[in-house]
């Protein structure tokens, strides 16, 4: 029995205006939610309404609009605190997205913590966002980034990880919760706990997990966690960094500007407390109204049911795709999110992407900003379908038919 009845799915689909889009005379099959979500109408409307009634710069204004806008903004901080189970609201920092969140940690905590010859451990499947910032900062400090090797099934080698922790001067572990390239759900608690036991700090890249599962940063025990609103049915240009308050407090500022200061003068400037110390300049203050609506949507449907439905779609897709000869699915981890990545014998992923697009099917092709992962599995790129709560089995059937058809053309 399916998680949702056909009527429920139709109702959910009806809430996403873009799903009535037609591409090349075919209805759009959007199988690219891991790159960026589509948004329900209520998210679009919330931001439009905010701009029609409440738009004003936040934090310093005494007038009504500014007060109202600030309340929405700071109210979202409370809500993200609850979503993540953070122990205080000041542990939530507003950023542009996962990438900026990780850069913030690398440029402040990372630079503070890393000395010559120190090591940052990052998974072999990391998105570039959780690798390159560490490389840049490590290079500057004379430190280095080493990989936690991946196994053939798309999981990380936990034994090798513990050996690395024990044999190298590791200061920080940067690890994804869910792989955007393969879909692997890593047992990230184990990795965090192993680091914690050794006094090593941890950052979890939650870009692909927070939108798809319940998560509690205190239970997880990580020091930092990052995710993006645009992958969670929410607005673009908004993301969140969770950081343990004790660490945030000891971190120097990064970007300077309005709002993050206490007193400014040419003879010396002092800084505000976290989270404001890390929020310089006018934020994307229209976004919180949209993020609230996105969280409402998720709560209305229910995170558990969303996850269950995505899993159902994954299982269906994997079963159907496995029937195709010359198709190889990358990643067979025991736990996977709604992401399936595959390669076709003799067909370049770019050609496949172009063909599927002609059939109205939107998949992502290429290296998925995870070149080391591609290298690990000996491919230059893959074809990736990723699912959201609004996808259907018949869209997957179209994908399967499309793949079979294009194989004929290219072989």
């Amino acid at each position: 029995m399916s998680v949702f009845s056909p009527e429920e799915i139709a109702a959910i689909r009806g809430r996403f205006p873009i799903l009535s889009r037609v591409v090349n005379d075919k209805p759009l099959a959007y199988l690219d939610s891991a790159a960026s979500s589509q948004v329900p109408e209520q998210v679009i409307e919330a931001m439009a309404t905010f701009q029609r009634t409440t738009r004003a710069n936040v934090h310093r204004g005494v007038h009504r609009l500014s007060q109202e806008a600030t309340e929405v903004h700071e109210g979202l901080r409370d809500r993200i605190q609850r979503l993540l189970g953070a122990s205080r609201r000041e542990e939530v920092i507003f950023v542009r997205g996962t990438t900026e969140a990780i850069n913030l940690v690398a440029w402040t905590f990372g630079r503070q913590k890393l000395n010559a010859l120190d090591v940052v451990l990052a998974g072999e499947l990391e998105h570039h966002a959780n690798l390159v910032p560490w490389q840049i900062v490590a290079a500057e400090r004379g430190a280095r980034v080493e990989k936690i090797p991946a196994l053939d099934d798309g999981t990380l080698d936990f034994e090798a990880y513990e050996r690395l922790l024990d044999s190298l001067p590791v200061k920080i572990v940067a690890i994804q919760h869910v792989s955007n390239a393969l879909g692997t759900i890593h047992p990230v608690e184990r990795f965090v706990q192993a680091a914690k036991r050794r006094g090593v700090a941890t950052l979890v890249d939650g870009a692909q997990s927070v939108p798809h599962m319940r998560l509690d940063v205190q239970a997880l025990g990580c020091d930092f966690l990052a995710f993006s609103a645009h992958k969670m049915y929410g607005p673009t240009g908004l993301g969140f960094l969770y950081g343990r308050y004790e660490l945030l407090e000891s971190m120097p500022p990064w970007q300077g500007g309005g709002d993050m200061i206490d007193k400014v003068s040419f003879s010396g400037t002092t800084f505000h407390e976290p989270p404001w110390r890390f929020e310089a300049g006018t934020p994307h203050y229209v976004a919180p109204s949209g993020m609230n609506a996105a969280l409402d949507f998720v709560e209305e449907i229910g995170m558990e049911r969303i996850a269950a439905r995505e899993h159902e779609l994954l299982e269906y897709a994997q079963t159907r795709l496995r029937e195709i000869e010359g198709l190889r699915i990358l990643g067979s981890a025991p736990h996977k999110a709604g992401v399936v990545s595959f390669v076709l014998e003799g067909v370049h992923h770019y050609d496949a992407g172009l063909f599927l697009d002609q059939m109205g099917i939107a998949v992502r092709t290429g290296h998925h900003c995870a070149q080391p992962a591609m290298e690990r599995y000996g491919v230059t790129g893959t074809i990736r379908a990723s699912f959201a709560v609004f996808n259907t089995e018949s869209e997957i059937d179209r994908l399967v038919a499309g793949v079979i058809r294009l194989q004929k053309v290219f072989q």
């Binding site: 934090h59 310093r60 005494v62 007060q67 600030t70 309340e71 903004h73 700071e74 206490d262």
Partner: protein
């Protein structure tokens, strides 16, 4: 004026007092008046040490312990903030630390001024109340562990 004894009684008194005002202007004028009536804070207590952070208006708060009670002296450079500070002092000063720490302070809401206590305001008032409660909480905890 004989000050009523409990925080709740003092709050009720204020709510009744403000019931007279229909107009925001009258209400604000009254608040300003209350500020003017606030006991003068000695110049040396205007030091940074007693300053409560607020971006727009400044607040100074000086708590003095008297037995298990806390007496507050305070000031602000802005008139309306000063009036609100005066209200807070009137309600909380001289009360037992435990009562201060636990006071819900709903009266601001009932007189339609709740917004001024919002942490999103940059007037320093919310921070002042937070500090009053922090002091009181610390003392109450001390009392408890001794008693």
């Amino acid at each position: 004026m004989i000050t009523p004894d409990t925080i709740a009684e003092r709050e009720t008194e204020i709510v009744e007092e403000f019931a007279m005002f229909d107009e925001w202007l009258d209400k604000y004028e009254h608040i300003i008046e209350l500020g003017k009536g606030l006991a003068v804070l000695a110049p040396e207590l205007h030091a940074d040490e007693w300053k409560v952070k607020g971006c727009q208006s400044q607040v100074w708060l000086h708590p003095v312990r008297e037995g298990d009670a806390l007496v507050f002296q305070a000031d602000s450079d802005a008139a309306i903030t000063k009036g609100l500070v005066a209200l807070m002092v009137r309600v909380l000063s001289g009360q037992p630390a435990r009562a201060i720490a636990q006071a819900p302070l709903a009266f601001l809401d009932r007189i339609g001024l709740h917004e001024h206590l919002s942490p999103t305001r940059s007037n320093g008032l919310a921070s002042m109340v937070k500090q009053m409660k922090l002091y009181a909480g610390a003392i109450a905890a001390q009392e408890a562990s001794h008693g």
